[in-house]
């Protein structure tokens, strides 16, 4: 099967949906002739025209609210925010309007919109352009939250997100845009709420999201060299969360490491760890659940500092080893 980049996969999903469904359109800053800040929509203006690839003013409150209103009245808008950090300005429309309308209205109306936005650090864009704020939206009933870790997932999940009748926040990780994998050409859908086991293993489970998935896979192969078989589970969507797959994995391995790039304090890792600890998997745990997350700092500019804010492959290896050798470790440290 052909390989294309994550960025191309996103564009392909968008284009196929737009060909398929007249109600789907895109709006966002510089998505027209510029092709979007990261180039995702490059060429789409030419194919779909300026009515469906709507270049907007720099007005995140207006464009997010316009998406809500359009969705409520029968369209399927796909909104691009140039950096996920700017969700701060769209927050009211997302949280107080989009997420709540159906419930507030007693089950009438729906808001089938997708907010696509690049997140994460690693490009030197510093504190206001590098955050991973998915925990905020995952905390809000009424929203769904997607974080694809590879192009083939991104393509199928984006179709599912656009076809979904609820507001979906779709995070594209900046550093993944250029990664490639095998992506089927035809349109396909990956259901929201279905985790993927990216690698099977028996000794420990790493639940990793977005850019942490390739790192977890690297950690797993290094650990395998030392005879430790790590299972890597990618939830793919935080909401809905595929608890079952994670529980089953932990029941098998007895050890759980949760790794995300977002700041550890208050990150969604706490939710995953606690959910599993509250589940039937608790009795299968051979070591405490561990979490890796971003350092408790705004993302710094200097590349070395920037890199140090995010969990590394080595951090993952160390954590897994610590869990695997928990009893010995406890004797030495306890």
């Amino acid at each position: 099967m052909r390989e294309i980049t994550y960025l191309e996969a996103v564009r392909e999903a968008l284009s196929q949906e737009m060909r398929e469904n007249e109600d789907v359109f895109m709006l966002g800053e510089d998505i027209g002739v510029y092709g979007g800040a990261f180039g995702v929509s490059r060429g789409m203006l030419e194919e779909f025209g300026s009515e469906r690839i709507r270049n907007t003013p720099i007005s995140e409150a207006a464009i997010s609210g316009t998406a809500v209103g359009a969705a409520l009245t029968g369209m399927r808008p796909v909104l691009e925010l140039q950096f996920s950090d700017f969700i701060t300005i769209a927050m009211d429309n997302l949280v107080n309007q989009a997420a709540k309308i159906r419930y507030m209205y007693g089950g009438k109306g729906s808001v089938p919109m997708v907010l696509r936005t690049p997140s994460g650090s690693g490009t030197g864009a510093a504190a206001q352009h590098s955050q991973s704020l998915e925990a905020w939206v995952a905390h809000v009933p009424g929203l769904k939250v997607v974080q694809p870790s590879c192009g083939s997932d991104a393509k199928g999940l984006l179709k599912a997100a656009i076809d979904d009748n609820n507001p979906v926040v779709f995070y594209e990780h900046k550093t993944l845009y250029k990664t490639s994998d095998h992506v089927p050409e035809e349109a396909y859908s990956i259901p929201l709420g279905k985790a993927d086991i990216k690698r099977e293993g028996t000794d420990a489970t790493i639940v990793a999201t977005a850019a942490m998935v390739p790192k977890a896979l690297e950690a797993a192969s290094k650990l395998a060299e030392e005879g430790i078989e790590t299972e890597v589970v990618d939830p793919r969507t935080l909401v809905p969360l595929d608890k079952e797959t994670i529980v089953e994995s932990v029941k098998k391995t007895g050890r759980l490491l949760v790794a995300h790039e977002a700041v550890k304090r208050g990150g969604f890792g706490g939710e995953i760890a606690s959910t599993i600890a509250e589940s039937e998997a608790f009795d299968f745990l051979d070591a405490p659940i561990m979490r890796l997350g971003g350092a408790e700092v705004p993302i710094p500019y200097n590349p070395n500092l920037e890199k140090a804010t995010v969990p590394s492959v080595e951090d993952m290896i160390d954590s897994v080893k610590q869990m695997v050798h928990y009893d010995t470790w406890r004797e030495n440290h306890g």
Binding site: F25, T56, S59, A62, V68, Q97, Y103, G109
Partner: protein, 325 residues
């Protein structure tokens, strides 16, 4: 004396007149129940502001849409809502518009084109744009009225939405109900220009000031703006100068304004003015208008009966309606 447009039939006039009374009685009833602790939460009453809601919605077609505000009962009634379902919602009953989940600030009537009240000041601006965009992209021909207050015109969402509506020529009419105050903030302290309508100048769209207590003045101005929009010429801003008679919400000592000022505005009662104009022109008799008034009153009382008899929502409904299938 206010001027009655030629083209309005007696029937239509009485219909509008009844709407004004429905709004007034509805909100006075709600006021009473809040005072008695019979409904909980909070509410914002439009008593005194009936003409801007009724006059604006009077020029709409059934398929046209509105976005409303926290002070939304009037808009809702003027857009043709079922009074029983409205009252039942305030009572938090299963038969209410929102099955008791929304309350006063979240009543919507999508079938009638009311896209909903909104608890967020300024929350409706961009939603109205979105509905207008749908109208344009699907070529549905409808127009959207976006109601908002003087206070809301200081939210960033006002600016962003009017700019967007202008450059995209969206069929949206932005209707400012300038009742002189936010919650307590006097518009004259909060805005350094005389007319909010002048802000249209920032977006290159028409702006007009009308006597918001003259239902016909409102109709004329909004009617023009709606035609302008329907013909594809984009948005307008219409400012209705009016006044709320009651406090901002259920608890308000109204320390920020004088009793004289209140009285001045009460003298400009939009219902009384409409009645007097109709009587003066001998379109209706005293008896006819009195009958309409009583009829409105009865409808409100019926809605109260309906609400009281309606069941509370079952606790099992708590978790439903969060996500659409």
């Amino acid at each position: 004396m206010i001027q009655i447009p030629e083209h309005l039939s007696k029937e239509r006039l009485l219909d509008l007149y009844e709407q004004m009374w429905l709004i007034r009685y509805f909100d006075e009833k709600v006021d009473e129940f809040f005072a008695k602790g019979m409904i909980h939460g909070t509410t914002h009453l439009a008593v005194g502001q009936e003409a801007s809601a009724v006059g604006s919605c009077a020029v709409l077609k059934e398929e046209d849409k509105i976005t409303s505000t926290h002070r939304g009962h009037g808009h809702c009634i003027a857009k043709g809502a079922d009074i029983n379902k409205m009252m039942a919602e305030l009572f938090g009953r299963e038969t209410g518009y929102c099955k008791g989940k929304g309350g006063s600030m979240h009543i919507a009537d999508l079938d009638k084109g009311n896209l909903g009240a909104n608890g967020i000041v300024g929350g409706g601006f961009a939603i109205a744009n979105g509905a207008g965009l749908t109208s344009r992209m699907k070529d549905l021909g409808y127009v959207v009225l976006c109601f908002f207050g003087d206070g809301a015109s200081n939210e960033g969402s006002f600016h962003e939405a009017l700019n967007l509506a202008s450059i995209w020529d969206l069929p949206v009419v932005f209707i400012c109900e300038n009742n002189q105050y936010g919650m307590s903030g006097p518009v004259k302290d909060m805005i350094n220009i005389e007319h909010i309508a002048s802000r249209s100048g920032s977006y290159g769209i028409p702006g007009k000031v009308v006597d918001g207590n003259d239902v016909f003045d409102v109709m004329n101005a909004v009617g023009e703006a709606v035609e302008h929009a329907r013909e594809g010429n984009g948005p307008s801003l219409v400012e209705c100068k009016t006044y709320r008679w009651k406090g901002h919400s259920k608890s308000d000592a109204k320390k920020y304004r004088t009793r004289e000022e209140e009285k001045e505005w009460r003298d400009k009662d939009p219902i009384k003015r409409m009645k007097e104009a109709m009587l003066e022109k001998e379109i209706v008799t005293e008896e006819e208008v009195e009958e309409i008034k009583q009829q409105a009153k009865r409808k409100i009382e019926e809605s109260v009966e309906f609400s009281k008899e309606s069941p509370e929502p079952d606790l099992s409904t708590l978790l439903t309606d969060v996500y659409a299938d």
